[in-house]
């Protein structure tokens, strides 16, 4: 059990959020360019039978 309780305490990392946000924005732009948002839309406007426990 000691393995699980040995996790060291972490510290807040200030300023890391900005590069991570940039990565997010770049990924989103690439996703838009590759028309992946259209794929998201196509799935989201159909009732997913599996998701509601029928399919």
């Amino acid at each position: 059990m000691s393995f699980w309780s040995r996790t060291p305490d972490k510290k807040q990392k200030r300023g890391y959020w900005l590069p991570l946000l940039m990565i997010g924005i770049v990924c989103l732009l690439v996703g838009i360019y590759q028309e992946q948002l259209t794929d998201i839309y196509r799935k989201a406007v159909m009732i997913c039978l599996e998701c509601i426990g029928i399919g």
Binding site: M1, W4, S5, D9, K10, K11, Q12, K13, R14, Y16, W17, L18, L20, L21, I23, G24, I25, V26, C27, L28, L29, V30, G31, I32, Q34, Q36, L37, T38, D39, I40, Y41, K43, A44, V45, I47, C48, L49, E50, C51, I52, G53, I54, G55
Partner: protein, 314 residues
């Protein structure tokens, strides 16, 4: 103390408003149909079953699984973009302040039944369950499991209780065509939902603590995110009021950095020296009088550690 007491009311208001905005398509509930407008191009930060008749946006996990369900898997940049943007800004603040299924569990936990517990026995191991669900069901399961020739969104199909609650039950309530197709899978998922409902009355947010893959993702972002709760260690008098108030039992040095912290702010509301706060700017100004007051409080507590009336500070 009044304005700090109000923080939890503001949080409740945020949760309700967010739920209405993301699941408030009333026409869908009445007709047993789902919204098909342009808002569904975008994912929202929290879990949001897009087969729910009220859903106005897409769900990041549903979209991720849909991308992995494609015959030729490509890197799902769009969904990753949403996850990085929400994660880098909010971390698990999304869980504490926005997610509708989090609100549902919060409300269940308020029901005055059973002796309340913060965690399940074996929490130190069980908390890794959400990572197992993320890897096993969302990433691997959705990439390799098939029904016939089609891949399946394994997490939504076998586990996702919010889909049963917000999608299946309202849709089946009014859509007779769907009612005729109910089978074993539906009862399996209904069983999971009922089990979690009962568990949530006793344990604080069991789904969020042990099963939610989105909580696992945002947990990783927690200590990097813009929204943070800051702990001014110098002003802390080690009274443990925050740990006692914390629904997931975190120590002050774990606040906001632990992947388990949902940034709900309950610890802020009870801190007697106000050394916890959202944002960067220190609230404890080192003015002569205030420092003296704090030292006096600390001295009194050392003489009698039970001095702080917890009820007064809740």
């Amino acid at each position: 103390m009044k304005h700090r007491f109000g923080l939890q009311r503001i949080r409740l208001l945020f949760q309700i408003l967010y739920t209405i905005v993301t699941n408030g398509y009333v026409y869908g509930y009445l007709q047993g149909k789902i919204y098909k407008g342009p808002l569904k191009y975008a994912c929202v930060p929290g879990l949001n079953c897009y087969s729910c008749p009220g859903a106005t946006f897409s769900c990041p996990l549903g979209a991720l699984q849909a991308a992995l369900n494609e015959r030729q898997i490509q890197i799902p940049f769009g969904v990753l973009g949403f996850l990085f943007i929400f994660g880098s800004i909010f971390g698990r603040f999304v869980c504490g302040w926005l997610c509708p299924f989090g609100l549902f569990q919060d409300l269940l936990h308020r029901i005055p039944l059973f002796h309340k517990r913060k965690r399940l026995p074996g929490h130190k191991v069980l908390k890794y369950g959400k990572y197992l669900v993320l890897v096993g069901l969302v990433l691997v399961g959705s990439s390799v499991l098939f029904t016939g020739f089609a891949k399946i969104p394994a997490f939504c199909k076998y586990l996702y209780p919010s889909g049963t609650l917000m999608g299946a039950i309202p849709l089946l309530g009014v859509n007779e065509q769907l009612q005729s197709q109910i089978g074993g899978l539906f009862y399996w998922k209904l069983g999971i939902l009922m089990g979690l409902v009962i568990l949530s009355i006793k344990i604080y947010r069991p789904f969020c603590q042990y099963l939610c893959p989105l909580g696992a993702v945002y947990g990783w972002f927690n200590r990097f995110s813009l929204v943070q709760i800051h702990w001014e260690q110098d002003a802390c008098i080690s009274c443990d009021a925050c740990k006692e108030a914390c629904p997931v039992n975190l120590r002050p040095e774990q606040i906001s950095v632990s992947a388990e912290c949902i940034k709900c702010g309950k610890c802020i509301s009870v801190c007697p020296t106000r050394c916890l706060h959202y944002g960067r700017k220190p609230k404890v100004e080192k003015k002569h009088g205030q420092v003296k007051d704090m030292i006096a409080t600390k001295c009194k507590m050392e003489q009698n550690p039970n001095r702080i009336d917890k009820n007064e500070n809740q």
